[in-house]
Symmetry: C2
Amino acid sequence: MNSRQQPKLSERVERLQPSAIREILAVIDRPGMISFAGGLPSADSFPDLSGMDLPREALQYGPSEGEPALRAQIAAELNAIGLRCTAEQVLVLSGSQQGIDLVAKLFIDPGTTVAVEEPTYLAALQVFRFFGARLAPLRPRQALAGLDAEAPPALAYAIPSFQNPTGHCYDAAERDALARACELLGVPLFEDDPYRDLAYDACERTPVCARLEHAPWIYQGSFSKTLAPGLRLGYLVASPDLMPLLVRLKQAADLHSNRVSQHVVLAQLRSPDRAERMRRVVDAYRRKRDFFAAALQRHFGDLARWQTPPGGLFFWLDLLAPIDTRALLPEAIERGVAFMPGELFFAGDVPAHGTMRLNFSHADEAGIERGLAVLAELVRSRIGHPVADMAEA
Amino acid sequence: MNSRQQPKLSERVERLQPSAIREILAVIDRPGMISFAGGLPSADSFPDLSGMDLPREALQYGPSEGEPALRAQIAAELNAIGLRCTAEQVLVLSGSQQGIDLVAKLFIDPGTTVAVEEPTYLAALQVFRFFGARLAPLRPRQALAGLDAEAPPALAYAIPSFQNPTGHCYDAAERDALARACELLGVPLFEDDPYRDLAYDACERTPVCARLEHAPWIYQGSFSKTLAPGLRLGYLVASPDLMPLLVRLKQAADLHSNRVSQHVVLAQLRSPDRAERMRRVVDAYRRKRDFFAAALQRHFGDLARWQTPPGGLFFWLDLLAPIDTRALLPEAIERGVAFMPGELFFAGDVPAHGTMRLNFSHADEAGIERGLAVLAELVRSRIGHPVADMAEA
């Protein structure tokens, strides 16, 4: 082996943490793995794309903003749910993770304050940290959303509908409170809304951005949960002041989004079967959620508390004992079960919190039953040990 | 209209220039536009993807690194051209523009020195500048490639085969000189190689990275030029020390690359028709290049000098008069012809250089004839004016 010379890397690379998501995406394909880890849609929900017809122009370079017809379709659908915008405000993304990268580039220097829910989407935390953000808590149930009025953050990031990881859906009062805080303090709002169409119970889902008159905003959505993640397609829509900058950032990141996927997604959005297909998907997920809730009751009834989520893809478990669930993960994977330790979703230094995020959409019923039995057994075995032992694990 | 509150943006956004590429991608779809601007492959070169069969797993989330079978295929092909690597060193990208973004994140802080050829790919310049790089000249024909041995750059970026924009292909001595400089000074080499398979005349094409023993390196390639840009798929391969960081950066940028495209590309790479298809593509481009050279002689014979490129997609024109060709562009587009002003490809402050980059692969023969006639007429009309007038244009 050669000894490689040591390169001088950027300072931000020191803040580049190993990604739990990446580790988990790497193991979920193992045969027999029961995954409660990723936000993986059920393969049964995917549209049938066999024999798909591709126009030749989809193979050429295209505009950075995205296909005009797809942008128009997205704008029309957003207006229908109360978010006023034009097609010119829509930017098609290579998945909504890309939106997080672009918005971080737009707002974050080392030391910039970003307000985030506690807990929140861990890959957003990673990107914000990577660009050097100082993370502050966003608390929509407090006055001014818990934001520091003296030194307001440069950006507030929120997932108001079926929050990741908690599954919580902001009610109208919480949506109003967050919007009012952003307006009063002039804080740009970055609203991430990948789960909105996966609603199993009635709840308020009008975007918080629709309530903003003066604060700059970015709203983003995804086709990963309603169509297929492998297409890697999402979009953002932003207040007109931010759009020219976001388009340039998109062009610098990857020129433009995949045109084949844009073509497929537009055809699916326009398909006459779309409403019926979504109804079937939502019904199937609702049944899955209810089955998961019952299985949780059987296995975790004496070990944890949880709320049945009104939408989205996750249960959030509060264990009665404050076990560091990160220490459980290797053993769980060893036994063929993947999950997300709750600690990863918190911004600050985290003591043992005793929380877990469990996806209910991917595994089948037998897998859910077996997987939860394994996890409950692991938790039970840990509770037998004193906390001091666990800290060393 | 509402008055939007002024957000506090990141410092790097001040370095975010409007992109000439983006502007041009936005106009090339206009009916009747003759484009010499982008590096657009001919639509005739695209494979037939109609009735394509898609495996269901291509719709689910996948690994950040890319599909294992595609990574193995890429590694095997790179070993065959002399670049020793394993499949584990291959990272599939959402187009090779993404590689530039990831490598910039890895190396560049404000003030970091990056050595680049003069001229070089303008979207690489934009990304390097955006992250705050100080750009220094890379001159493979000079001792130590023109690099400052006292304060070597943190990264050297080069396009040795059919360089963009000049079309130059480094000979063996230039490749050796660049490799030696990187080894002696410990400078990581970022070799961008999207055009290597578009070779019309015999020339040395072994990657410069294959000559490195100790310096860290990143080599990247693209499927945009040999298959189809709309698939947005490229790859990088890196020395083992850099891979874990690049994979994390990829995951943070967009989780993973489009699986549908990865499936399509792998099928094309394994197709029994592949060699024959590439031979047809290269033959067609060679004929196009030769037609373009003859048309240039007719229209620009008394206006410019150029080398016929041995590969790639571009002619690089040195006008005999030092016209600022940026000032010609709006009028050219007005008259239905797009091209790239040469000034955009230079790192420093640029006086009127009198250079143009002309793509020969996209327009048909009638378009080439008509487009070059329009451009020559515009150049001729400018030469009539004194230089002082032009500076004001």
